[in-house]
């Protein structure tokens, strides 16, 4: 299955890119998506995750075609 992975703000700068395209087989959690795309790099503290533009927990299961996003706490307004 194919998953788009996106990074924003300070996390985008620390991972050094704004997105990944991940192609794998089998079920995956959001946490496993991070581990596959950022091999060996621990998830920075406080990072939030969204799937298809809704906030999710890291044990959320990802489906084919989903867009997964990782970003730091929001600071708008």
């Amino acid at each position: 299955m194919s998953i788009k992975v996106r990074y924003f703000a300070s996390l985008k700068e620390s991972v050094g890119r704004s997105e990944d395209d991940l192609t794998i087989t089998g079920l995956l959690t959001v946490n496993e998506v991070w581990n596959l795309t950022n091999l060996g790099k621990p998830l920075p503290e406080n990072i939030l995750a969204a799937v298809n533009m809704e906030y999710v927990e890291f044990d959320n299961i990802v489906k084919d075609g989903d867009e997964v996003a990782f970003f730091p706490p929001v600071t708008g307004g």
Partner: protein
């Protein structure tokens, strides 16, 4: 309910006036308008700031704002609402965010506008990077809770 993401500087008062002038129904029912305007300061967390870049997540940002305003509509009888949030490069004294809520009664307008602002600050995907006068840059780490006394 109208939500706008603006990459250009905007005058909040002109935006509200234009929005109100375009209204038709329900005018006579409006007794209360509560407006919040967030403006860029030139000093934050101990440092002089000369500018800021606001990043967002196109699609998710609008989706989350819509969800927040819908939640407010479920809690208070809102006649109409307008939310405009700036993105891109911003200078001190420019408007970052405008929240306007129209209602029949003042308690509802106050409560709803404040709810929208607090929810926006904790849930809408925007990120601020400050450009300091010292030429350093820094991402803001988190927003504070605006309901609590500082």
């Amino acid at each position: 309910m109208t939500i706008k993401i603006s990459a250009e500087a905007f005058d909040p008062y002109q935006e509200i006036q234009a929005y109100q002038n375009a209204k038709t129904g329900n005018i006579g029912a409006i007794g209360a308008t509560s407006i919040f305007i967030g403006t860029m300061r030139d000093f934050n967390e101990g440092a002089a700031v000369k500018g800021m870049t606001l990043e967002y997540y196109p699609g998710m940002t609008e989706k989350q704002l819509k969800k927040i305003i819908t939640e407010a509509q479920q809690q208070w009888p809102i006649i109409d609402s307008l939310v405009i949030h700036r993105v891109g490069d911003i200078l001190p004294n420019e408007t970052i965010v405008l929240v306007a809520v129209w209602s029949s009664h003042r308690g509802d307008a106050f409560d709803a506008s404040r709810y929208i602002m607090e929810a926006l600050k904790s849930k809408a995907p925007f990120w601020k990077k400050e450009h300091l006068v010292t030429e350093n840059e820094r991402w803001l780490a988190h927003n504070t809770n605006g309901y609590k006394p500082r």
